[in-house]
Amino acid sequence: MSEVAVRGGPAAWRSMVGTGSEGAGQSWAEAGLDPRRALQLGLAAIWLLDGVLQYQPAMYTRAFGQMLAGTAAGNPSVVARPISWEASLFDHHVVALNTIFATIQLLLGLGIAIRPTVRLALAASVAWSLAVWWLGEGLGGVLIGGASPLNGAPGAVILYALLAVLLWPADRATRPRFPAARAVGAHVARALWLVLWLSLAYFAVTPANRAPGAVSGMISAMTDGEPHWLTGLMKGGASLVTGADLATSIVLAVALAVIAVGVYLPAPAARATLLLAIVVSLLIWVFAQALGGILAGGATDPNSGPLLVLLALAYWPARMAGQAGKKEIAP
């Protein structure tokens, strides 16, 4: 049908993304698609989506600036003051600043997708994510007790930075056991996973999140403007947990804690906990985050659900080739 054909192979990919072909990257490349590159492309797609979402009409109104200002409330003054300054600046130059913000995010997505610029774009995405985490999300509400895994704690945008670090095109580990281990090594990667998911487990049972009506209220509050099928699902979910908010929080916290330690288990058990992480992330994304609110219009990003799934895939145990009987290695 088309005159366009594809050439090249895994080796070309590795040379372009700087993953190298010696030892570490080889077993991944033999699978046809380098898993780390595939995850980078997933991250690029989410950044690109963020950029497009930021151009929505709702972002060009003063309401967006007021939303930014609202994230300062309750934070220590050293955190809140720059947020208020930025919100005020945004209020006065909403068209110019929002266009710049959207374009930056669009360029980050394009930069990660284009192989020669992947390092530059990932590095820039870390800096941008940290800035947005502070100035746009008020550090994800972690200092004010409002953070919950259901509403995207510890702030979806910090997960972009974490993924950028873990998917950095370098090979520190000589025998990477999972894609996230390649850039920072297995010990550091596992520690980052443990800290993230244990913090989520902690947030699930903070007083504000285990109070009567907290979980069901959070779900119900997200249904405004959503399509009927999604509203129906969410209302069904909310009615299931109504009156059992404490039990729901405890079950969620236990599941998150199991996920946290899962990467230290042997490969089959690790795989099971990673699968659990994916399922929990998707359930949270659909029932509590309403797919990030994208279908209702006015969302700036798809929230933490897809990022947590991407993160779990980055820890998926590798099937190492070139070893006797293709032995599986625990993450």
Partner: protein
């Protein structure tokens, strides 16, 4: 409200892609050394890209509207059916489907068809489509069935990222002999001592290069995703 100048900029981008692709079609028709066969898929892709560029420009900037919505619905309905048929005919394997990029063009055409149908439904009784820049927030059209729009946006963004990855890795070349293949084939592929192929003029090489077509697909895809997102 998304600023009008931004929508105008996007409209210009879409028209540029349409003009570039139209030049590509003309070059294929007028240059005898480039084989053109009626029904060749590559030309239907080019034709579809020209139509998409023109129609999207009209959606971004109402003054650039060329045809009534119902005409575009017929056009994109036919294109969707055509590419779907080609995809079905090429279903030798999943690999053949992805390599021939049939599915991408099915998605592009179907997304355009959905946008026109959803806008028509939303504006029925309101005197037709105003377009996006149609004078103030009250005129901003909203798409019905946002779930379908969301699914299309995810697919379009996914294809854009995938194409950019492939494009930046130099993975596209001309499958057929002749034409501006030299633009995409690495220099070392030429055996020592063989005669160098005739050098193509740079502009012609650029217009006809497969990379240009894939780049056009990427720009149209991003434009389409943008269009759907701001109308959700």
């Amino acid at each position: 409200m998304t600023p009008a100048w931004l929508l105008d900029l996007l409209a210009v981008s879409m028209l540029t892609v349409a003009a570039l692709t139209a030049t590509r079609i003309l070059a294929r028709l007028l240059l005898p050394e480039l084989p053109w066969r009626p029904g060749q898929g590559a030309n239907s892709v080019d034709l579809a890209n020209v139509l998409m560029g023109i129609s999207m420009a009209g959606m971004f900037t109402p003054s650039l509207t060329t045809l009534p919505a119902v005409a575009w619905e017929v056009v994109f309905g036919l294109l969707t059916a055509w590419f779907a048929w080609r995809a079905w005919a090429d279903t030798r394997s999943v690999r053949a489907l992805t390599a021939d990029r049939c599915t991408l063009h099915v998605v592009h055409s179907a997304a355009m068809l959905y946008a026109f149908l959803a806008l028509s439904a939303a504006s029925s009784g309101g005197g037709g489509m105003a377009g996006m820049g149609g004078g103030g927030p009250a005129a901003m059209p909203t798409l019905g069935h946002p779930t379908i729009a969301g699914a299309f946006v995810v697919l379009l963004v996914g294809y854009c990222v995938w194409d950019l990855n492939q494009l930046s890795g130099g993975r596209f070349r001309l499958a057929a002999a002749g034409g501006p293949a030299a633009a995409a084939v690495p220099a070392q592929a030429e055996a020592p001592g063989t005669e160098s192929p005739r050098r193509e003029p740079a502009v012609r090489t650029f217009v006809l290069a497969p990379q240009t077509r894939v780049g056009s697909d990427v720009i149209l895809g991003i434009g389409m995703a943008f269009m759907l997102v701001i109308m959700i």
